[in-house]
Symmetry: C2
Subunit: 430 residues, 2 copies
């Protein structure tokens, strides 16, 4: 039976919007936005998209008009009543009222700010300048839009049947990964794949698959909208942008050296429990841990993000021991370019030695590698990073020089201040 | 948007019918029916279902009430005007008016005759007694109903998500087989999978996949309804029931020995071209070919059905050579329990030595092996064979004693008359 009403209604759509809700973003962006609103509401920053997979010329694949339409559509979104109700009434990490009335009021009046878009060398220069608390909320939807438009550009050329087989293969691949993961004892894994996802509906399917396959071993998703709709946990803590902005705002080298700890001191006041996960690698993990104040040892865990995970895990265990803590009571969260093989390796090495959590991103929600010719759907390493704060350049070093961000002289200064040694470059897959 | 009208309409279905058209049958049943109508319209036979996979207790898996409902629904079907038009107007094997006005008139008045059903030892005794031309048309729908009801019985216990992954896997499997087949030079392959299919919609999907993947290398389908709807060739020639009934009706040993050739003599009058494919194995291929009349060498090809395919192919080549024919001008059709490995092996051995055609059945349209626990969806070897004709027992020997049918004393007599030597049993997978 043809649903005439639906067919006619569908004709009225001008575009098929990629981002349809302000909650279609990562949970930690909201936690960070609340901290920023509370402590840095006047700070101005610039965020910018950077495609580290330069060989993929996104500007040739994605029409500028379509990109603008999608970004403009995202700018038209407002938090709905039901979404605000969910933020107010839901418990996050077992705690009610995670978000203050002040933050939710602010969020209800929020719209995504303007953007600047131009093409250069087959890439899009897409930047967001303005209040930190506003521009920070562009990161996830902007990346999700670019990634999904790229997917759509490729999928447009496939027939109905090729599409069906493509998704059958992708589903089979995800399910086979989940079946392997099932075998790991005491697994705890979450979806971190919003920004680099193949598409919204695909991420949603992946979450459904994780839930069906892993049950309580699936901790939840970083995506607030999917968490709300599927009634699963929304998960995540904080990201590099906090130390990057705090560092950029520091008045001198002493302030710079203290900035990463200032972030955690603020965070500790704002949140607690499982949200107290240290992200130590912004300016090199080794120096960060070495100089860490004693109170940091009380934190729940460490996120190991840009270092070889085995090395990073051993480093965390050694650090906790050196501070008189029992690593078995501590949590290590791995989240850098994970796939099943890496998770298995990490689990084999560390299971029983500390509590383990996995944030599985791109290779959960966008593993279409090899499924179309020329790898045209293979995920790309695209990021949206803070470039400056109140006019000063922002810098990231991390444990992998391939991921460094900032002007060369500033990078040199940061390396000196943080005592960053020579680093070995690791390939960045996604 | 919920289509209320459709939802309410769907409530009115009492059952979800498995067979919805009299054309949902194999093309060769119609060719044979036409020959039977023309030459043996008063012959009475009995067809009976036999499940060679005795370990699968179908009567425990399939509810008798549901089975009766499906069989009764099939009995309510009449050839529609559009279906009759297709039979009249379509060309088959490049020939128009393959079916006579007399046959189509008869078919328009046809309904499937009554059936007899009882349970025994976990199996259904399902038999059809009556006019040969009527009961012969039960074979395919009865098998398709039993196979699909068994699938449904298993699928009923799966959740929405498990079903989705199941079909994703099955689709991926079929598509990967097709991609392997694509590499074979001069491939010509057809779907012969109606009777043992997982379900009608699945067979239809498999045909779509073959068409999309193989293009003109996909010769067509044996299923008339799918051929009509998808506008592909309907293919097939004849089956063992013809020599079995001719043999049963023979008055003496001399008539018995002549019966298989009488079948071909009649067939040759009724049809020509690519329909002139010898099915030599009913009472042993070796003896059949040895005693074949000279006019049989003019036939287009041989179907190799119950013998090891390499042995059978070599036997065909040797026979054609012995009769002064060029095997390269002849067609060998392989159709016994084929899967990709077997097709590749056969192709590697015979490509270039004779024309090759493959009739791919059960392992195209029902390869759900291992996709649910305990192999509950693995295909079974179930057949519907003629048991007697005008009160005399029907006998099949074939090249594989596992497939022999008939009373022991009659099998012994047939073996003597046809000079069948000791045979090695081959396992029957499907």
């Amino acid at each position: 039976m043809t649903d005439l009403a639906k067919r006619v209604y569908d004709h009225t759509w001008k575009i098929d919007p990629i981002v349809r809700s302000l909650l279609d973003t990562d949970f930690y962006k909201l936690l960070m936005a609340q901290t920023i609103l509370r402590r840095h509401r006047d700070t101005q920053v610039t965020f910018g998209i950077q495609n580290r997979s330069r060989q993929v010329r996104i500007a040739d694949l994605v029409d500028e008009g379509e990109l603008r339409e999608q970004l403009d559509h995202a700018r038209s979104l407002r938090l709905t009543r039901g979404e605000a109700t969910w933020l107010r009434g839901n418990s996050f990490y077992g705690r009610r009222q995670m978000f203050s009335a002040e933050f939710i009021d602010w969020f209800e009046g929020f719209r995504l700010p303007d953007y600047h878009l131009e093409k250069r060398d087959g890439q899009y220069l897409l930047t967001f300048h303005g209040l930190w608390v506003e521009t920070t909320l562009w990161e996830v939807p902007a990346l999700a839009i670019l990634n999904e438009l790229r997917s759509r550009g490729v999928l447009r050329h496939l027939g109905k049947f090729e599409l069906q087989v493509l998704y059958a293969r992708a589903m089979t691949r995800v399910w086979e990964k989940i079946e392997r993961l099932k075998r790991l004892p005491d697994l705890s894994i979450a979806d971190f794949g919003t920004r680099r996802r193949h598409g919204f509906l695909w991420q949603d399917w992946c979450v459904e698959a994780m839930l069906a396959g892993l049950g309580p071993r699936f901790l939840g998703t970083s995506n607030c909208l999917i968490a709300q709709r599927r009634e699963v946990e929304a998960v995540g803590t904080n990201a590099h942008e906090l130390p990057m902005v705090y560092a950029a705002l520091a008045e001198d080298d002493e302030g710079l050296a203290a900035a990463p700890y200032a972030v955690l001191a603020d965070w500790q006041q704002d949140y607690d429990g499982n949200l107290l996960v240290i992200l130590p690698d912004t300016y090199g993990t080794a120096g960060f841990l070495e100089r860490a104040p004693e109170w940091m040892t009380a934190w729940t865990g460490i996120r190991i993000d840009s270092k070889d995970p085995i090395e990073g895990g051993e480093e965390a265990i050694a650090w906790w021991r050196s501070r008189g803590c029992d690593p078995q009571a501590k949590l290590a969260i791995f989240s850098d370019g994970l796939d099943v093989e890496a998770i298995e390796t990490i689990h084999a090495r560390f299971h029983g030695r500390m509590r383990l959590g996995y944030g599985w991103g791109t290779l959960l929600t966008n593993d279409f590698r090899g499924l179309v010719p020329d790898g045209a759907l293979d995920p790309i390493s695209i990021v949206c990073k803070v470039l400056d704060a109140n006019g000063r350049p922002a810098v990231k070093i991390s444990d992998n020089p391939t991921k460094a961000i900032g002007p060369a002289d500033e990078i040199a200064r940061y390396k000196r201040v943080f005592g960053v040694p020579e680093q070995a470059a690791l390939p960045v897959l996604v």
